[in-house]
């Protein structure tokens, strides 16, 4: 088989697009310079194949980058449906539409404690010394892969959360990334920095204003959790089914710190998330939860890496996937243990429930262990709804359909039980019911 010449305009952006993008931006030279540097990396990565280990099952053949462009036009701020906004009291909230920040709020109490929360660009400029050393340098680097580099050159709006040493933010914070117009390419960035002994919860969601327009999100999430700090981060991906979602996400967890990270995949035409959990400090812990419900022709892919870099670290990943119609889900999980990371405990598990003969799921766990005193376990299951469960429920007067829905919700319950934020559990349960087609909902 001969390799066809790579059509840059199909898989990414050329120099012309970049220069035009830069020309429309008003920002300090150091930021433009960082973009230029990233763009050069991007250009060279565009010439090479994507890592087959990560991408061979992710079908990007019909992806056409030329269909999407970043926008400098002021975003429409008409009503955008969200699942999480107004569901509870937030300590702060921010919204980005079509790559531009349209709303940002932080309670004066938190601001007085030194918490920074708001538009990434504005805050990067105001607090350069504090933030520049972390932005695209510690958790995700532009040379990580083609999409990370693309993002680093073109990042548009973003959410920044910075919590100073010892500050515990009780109320969750809310971040919304939305698309309102057809053909938008949006490069939202999320940077969370928790200094030592700090605590916070950030709930982030994505949304399309309607179901018809096509969109592209090339995103990046960086979570930097300091010593003894605790971060809970939820990203609920709920684009319409014409949106491409390509994201590089990483969390660094320092000594005795804990990261609880929940990834929800409900929307998108195709989504691929590269998720790195770096346990960089002694006794760091991470709990990773995944809730995915794919339907129609959706393709949802995850590449997760639990990287144990220090002694006594603990990671626990549980992904649950439900597939219906002709959807496809791919999960490739890896636990890596460095030689220095003795006495670590790593766990990963992915369970898929197939509701259709035509859906397809690939779950591939993996271990790479260089230390000799560790405990690492993994597992993956793929199964159909058990007919005996359906019959049992039916014999109690529950219809076949209702029984199936209960079984699906029960399947997800195991991962809901691990999510400590009640409104997230409730929202997920409601959203899953919606996707199952249960219209009128009885309060339970």
């Amino acid at each position: 088989m001969t390799t066809a010449a790579i059509d840059i305009n199909r898989i990414g952006y050329s120099r012309d697009v970049f220069e035009q993008f830069l020309a429309e931006r008003v920002e300090p030279v150091w930021i433009s310079d960082a973009r230029r540097e990233a763009f050069e990396i991007y250009q060279s990565l565009l010439q090479s194949e994507l890592d087959p280990e990560e991408f061979k099952r992710v079908d990007l053949r019909v992806f056409n980058a030329a269909r999407f462009r970043p926008s400098s036009v002021k975003a429409q701020t008409t009503e955008i449906s969200t699942l999480l906004a107004n569901q509870t009291e937030y300590g702060g909230s921010i919204a980005h539409v079509d790559g531009q920040t349209t709303h940002s709020h932080l309670s004066s109490q938190l601001a007085a404690q030194g918490v920074l929360f708001g538009d990434l660009l504005t805050l990067l400029i105001q607090h350069r010394e504090l933030l520049e050393p972390s932005f695209l340098k510690k958790a995700v680097r532009p040379d990580a892969d083609r999409f990370a580099a693309w993002h680093a050159a073109f990042w548009t709006s973003g959410t920044l959360l910075y919590v100073p040493r010892g500050v515990e933010v009780e109320l969750p914070l809310h971040s919304l990334i939305a698309h309102s117009r057809d053909g938008i390419a949006e490069f939202g960035h999320t940077l969370v920095i928790l200094e030592d002994d700090a605590r916070a919860t950030l709930l982030e969601e994505t949304s399309s204003i309607n179901n018809d327009m096509a969109g592209l999100h090339v995103g990046c999430v960086e979570l930097i959790v300091g010593k003894n700090a605790g971060l809970r981060y939820v990203q609920l991906q709920n684009w319409n089914q014409r949106t491409w979602h390509l994201a590089h996400q990483a969390g660094n967890v320092d000594n005795n710190a804990s990261l609880q990270w929940t990834v929800v995949g409900l929307g998108s035409r195709l989504s691929h998330i590269h998720q790195d959990i770096n346990l960089t400090g002694r006794a760091a812990t991470a709990e990773v939860n995944g809730v995915t419900f794919a339907s129609d022709h959706q393709k949802i892919s995850y590449y997760t890496q639990q990287h144990h870099k220090a002694q006594g670290t603990h990671s626990d990943l549980l992904y649950k996937e439900v597939l219906r119609d002709e959807s496809r889900v791919i999960w490739r999980g890896m636990i890596k243990v460095d030689a220095a990371a003795q006495q670590t405990d790593g766990y990963q598990r992915s369970d898929a429930l197939m509701l259709s003969e035509n859906a397809r799921c690939d779950s591939i766990p993996g271990l790479e262990i260089e230390a000799d005193d560790v405990r690492c376990t993994h597992g993956a299951t793929t199964g159909r709804v058990d007919e005996e469960q359906i019959f049992y429920a039916q014999s109690r007067g529950i219809s076949e359909k209702e029984a199936m829905h209960m079984i699906v919700e029960g399947f997800f319950q195991q991962v809901y039980d691990r999510i400590p934020v009640e409104i997230v559990r409730e929202t997920l349960s409601r959203t899953v019911q919606g996707k199952l087609g249960i219209e009128a909902l009885a309060a339970v």
Binding site: Q394, R396, I398, E400, I407, G410
Partner: protein, 270 residues
């Protein structure tokens, strides 16, 4: 007027294998019937066929309640008409809480026209009711919050079946070896529970190898199944006799059915 469950010349196959070969039985509300028979005689097949398991094909004959044919109905529709099966092997449904499951079931049984998403029985009344029923069965009310049968012991599962029966108040209850695999304390709890629940409003068919359940729930009728047929029907003394002497004499009296039975056992075990 009390209802009548009537089974007429029922033939049932599992896959290609015929198991029931012409069963006749009439159970009236308020009556207790015992169904006994050796392995492979078709007792559980009858239970599943009555409940409407999709893998048990009725090839001929009929099942009706008060003249209304239910042979073609789905298991949920039968349940809504008042049929209940206490499973020999209750099914685990992970992530579905006992209380939620039973509340949905009760809502459907009490409002047979209910569609998914429509109102459930009010929470307060439901809570009070399930708590009372659980206490009567010596069950820790914590069980309501657990996932259905998930991690339950054999005895806990069987009690859960009786709890569901108590909540659903069926017109006809079939208990498929509810006493099997239980220690004598558990058998006593389940037997007493059943005895409290059965009354003029419930017809009961107790399938058992043993006699213990019948000590608390004395049957008016005892049926003996062999080779997919009811070969003898008597009163409680027949159950007692079978318990004491086994099925050897029954086999001798019905050699043809005994041969069929042996064949079925062979087909199932190979």
């Amino acid at each position: 007027m009390s209802s009548l469950l009537k089974i007429t010349d029922l033939h049932v196959s599992v896959g290609e294998t015929p198991i029931l070969k012409g069963v006749n039985m009439e159970i009236r509300q308020g009556e207790v019937h015992a169904l006994m028979g050796p392995n492979g005689s078709g007792k559980s097949t009858l239970a599943y066929a009555l409940a409407g398991h999709p893998n048990y094909f009725v090839t001929s004959g009929s099942i009706d309640i008060d003249g209304v044919e239910i042979t073609e109905l789905g298991a949920d529709e039968r349940a809504r008409l008042g049929m209940f099966l206490a499973f020999q092997y209750p099914v685990v449904i992970p992530g579905v809480k006992v209380a939620d499951f039973i509340r949905h079931a009760v809502s459907n049984i009490r409002n047979p026209d209910r569609k998914e998403g429509e109102g459930l029985v009010p929470m307060r009344e439901f809570r009070r009711e399930i708590r009372e029923r659980m206490e009567a069965l010596n069950m820790d009310t914590e069980f309501a919050r657990r996932y259905l049968n998930d991690g339950f012991s054999g005895g806990e599962k069987k009690r859960m079946e009786i709890l569901q029966m108590a909540m659903l108040q069926p017109r006809f209850a079939i208990l498929d070896e509810t006493d099997s695999g239980l220690d004598s304390d558990a058998v006593r709890v389940v037997s007493e529970g059943l005895a409290r629940l059965s009354g003029p409003q419930m017809g009961v068919l107790i399938i058992t190898h043993h006699e213990r359940l019948l000590e608390f729930n004395r049957p008016q009728f005892t049926h003996v199944m062999l080779g997919g047929r009811i070969v003898e029907t008597g009163d409680a003394s027949l159950a007692h006799e079978l318990h004491a002497n086994g099925y050897a004499t029954v086999r001798e009296r019905h050699p043809e059915a005994a041969a069929d039975n042996a064949q079925t056992v062979a087909a199932v075990t190979t």
